[in-house]
């Protein structure tokens, strides 16, 4: 069910993840029925019909690939590390780690916690790498994947979706934010106790006589934390990706606009380097701050 090659079709195609789940077919426009098989969604409509129990294979693949790459790099450094004169690779890894360690020391005061700093490192480097995929020309890898798939499996290349930037998938950012949220709850209960944590949710900011209002306010505050974390990253990266796609659509509009688009793309990519790093940093710092808040007995 290849969509017609229009600008909006192009954009839609680029914004669709490669989704694996229960197959559906469109009996008539707007009416879908499950076929009983599992497979890749052939259109964004089908992907939407697959419901919760489907998985974005491209997001998972890219994020695990990049995370694995990162872990392999740091593990290979950690294995050969020496306190003597460092090699260049070791120096680079140490530079990142010291930067993370400094930021964590600056914003986390919850005493000895062996989780927060490594988590901050994971968050920063992983999100940075995932965001970095945004700088790869938007069509390069999707086209390669689509044509590879069509050569191997004989499917129409237009039906193969591939998004290489996992952080433009809200599932990825929400998944990470949810893990942070679970850790926040865990440490809140662990450090403050059940009573302490419930007290924190109900007895402020207005004192015990305004208990329901307090509870509503504090619960919203608490839940807003992971959502703001996830949506900030997702929004920034999605918008950036969108701009790249829009610039890419200009390439088909003649030589003058095409070369102008080239200039725009370079400019936006340079500017985007800043956003990529900044968003990774913000996610890391906010996570650390939330962990710190979970560790604090009193506000």
């Amino acid at each position: 069910m290849a969509e017609e090659l229009t600008t909006s079709g192009y954009i839609k195609h680029h914004l669709q993840n490669l989704t694996f789940g229960p197959k559906h077919e469109e009996l008539e426009p707007g009416v879908w029925a499950p076929t009983g098989d599992y497979g890749f969604a052939m259109s964004s409509g089908e992907a939407a019909q697959m419901g919760f129990w489907s998985i974005n294979v491209d997001t998972m693949f890219m994020s695990i690939l990049l995370g694995g790459l990162m872990m392999w790099f740091f593990r290979s450094v950690a294995k050969k590390i020496s306190a003597g004169v460092p090699t260049n690779t070791q120096n680079f890894a140490e530079w990142i780690i010291e930067f993370i360690d400094d930021s964590v020391r600056g914003s986390f005061s919850g005493g000895k916690n062996t989780l927060v700093a490594p988590m901050a490192l994971t968050i920063f480097v992983w999100i940075f790498l995932m965001n970095l995929m945004d700088l790869i020309p938007v069509d390069l890898i999707p086209l390669a994947v689509a044509h590879g798939a069509s050569a191997i499996f004989g499917v129409d290349p237009h039906d193969v979706f591939f998004k290489i930037v996992p952080t433009t998938d809200p599932n990825a950012t929400l998944g990470m934010a949810l893990f942070v949220f679970l850790l926040m709850l865990y440490y809140s209960f662990k450090v403050k106790g059940v009573g302490g944590f419930i007290g924190e949710l109900t007895l402020q900011p207005f004192g015990k006589w305004a208990l329901p209002i307090n509870f509503v306010l504090e619960t919203v505050t608490l839940i807003a934390k992971p959502f703001s974390l996830a949506l900030r990253l997702f929004g920034n990266m999605y918008a950036g990706e969108m701009v790249f796609i829009l610039i890419a659509t200009m390439y088909g509009a003649g030589l003058v606009l095409g070369s102008f688009a080239g200039l725009l793309q370079v400019g936006w990519a340079i500017f985007h380097i800043l956003i990529i790093t900044l968003q990774a940093f913000i996610f890391m710092v906010l996570t650390t701050v939330y962990m710190d808040m979970a560790h604090q007995e009193h506000h």
Binding site: L15, Q16, N17, T19, G21, A47, A48, M50, G51, F52, W53, S54, I55, N56, T59, M60, S63, I64, G67, M70, M71, F74, R75, V77, A78, K79, I81, S82, A83, G84, A93, E94, I97, E98, D101, T114, L115, A117, P118, M119, L121, T122, W126, P166, D169, P170, N171, A172, L174, G175, M176, L178, F179
Partner: protein, 156 residues
């Protein structure tokens, strides 16, 4: 852009990466960094200690040099004193020796002179006798002497 099980997958992947990082990446690197920090601190302390020791050693060396100089000058002065003593002593012995040689030479001279005198004396007598003999032999005038002798004989 649908919320689906990717959410859970990402959550699990994230948790695994964090756990891996926490267990196998962060501790060894931090430990190495701490170790290096300690090494550098130790090195700096050792350098400080070394500098201090060097200062002490320099001070000690100066002291030793001072002592050596003092000792050397003492030795020189002692040697000078001893030299003077030896010269004085030598002068004394030389003087007495000289006097001794002088007196013995004088005595010998005197002895020699006495001996020469004695010899001379002895020789003078014989020379005198010889001279006298010569004189006598030349002066003898048989006639006069015969007269003389005759007179002597006549007186007898």
């Amino acid at each position: 852009m649908n919320i689906n099980a990717t959410l859970i997958g990402q959550l699990i992947a994230f948790a695994i990466f964090v756990a891996f990082c926490m267990k196998y990446v962060w501790p060894p690197i931090m430990q190495a960094l701490e170790e290096r920090k300690k090494k550098i601190a130790d090195g700096l302390a050792a350098a400080e200690r070394g500098r201090h020791e060097q200062e002490l050693a320099e001070k000690r060396a100066q002291q030793v040099i001072h002592e050596a100089k003092d000792q050397a000058s003492e030795i020189v002065s002692q040697a000078q004193r001893r030299g003077n003593e030896i010269v004085d002593e030598a002068k004394g012995t030389a003087r007495t020796e000289g006097e001794r040689i002088l007196t013995s030479a004088r005595a010998e001279i005197e002895q020699e002179a006495n001996r020469a005198r004695d010899e001379l004396r002895a020789q003078v007598a014989s020379v005198a006798l010889a001279g006298a003999g010569k004189i006598l032999s030349r002066e003898i005038d048989d006639k006069a002497h015969t007269d003389l002798l005759d007179e002597l004989v006549s007186q007898i």
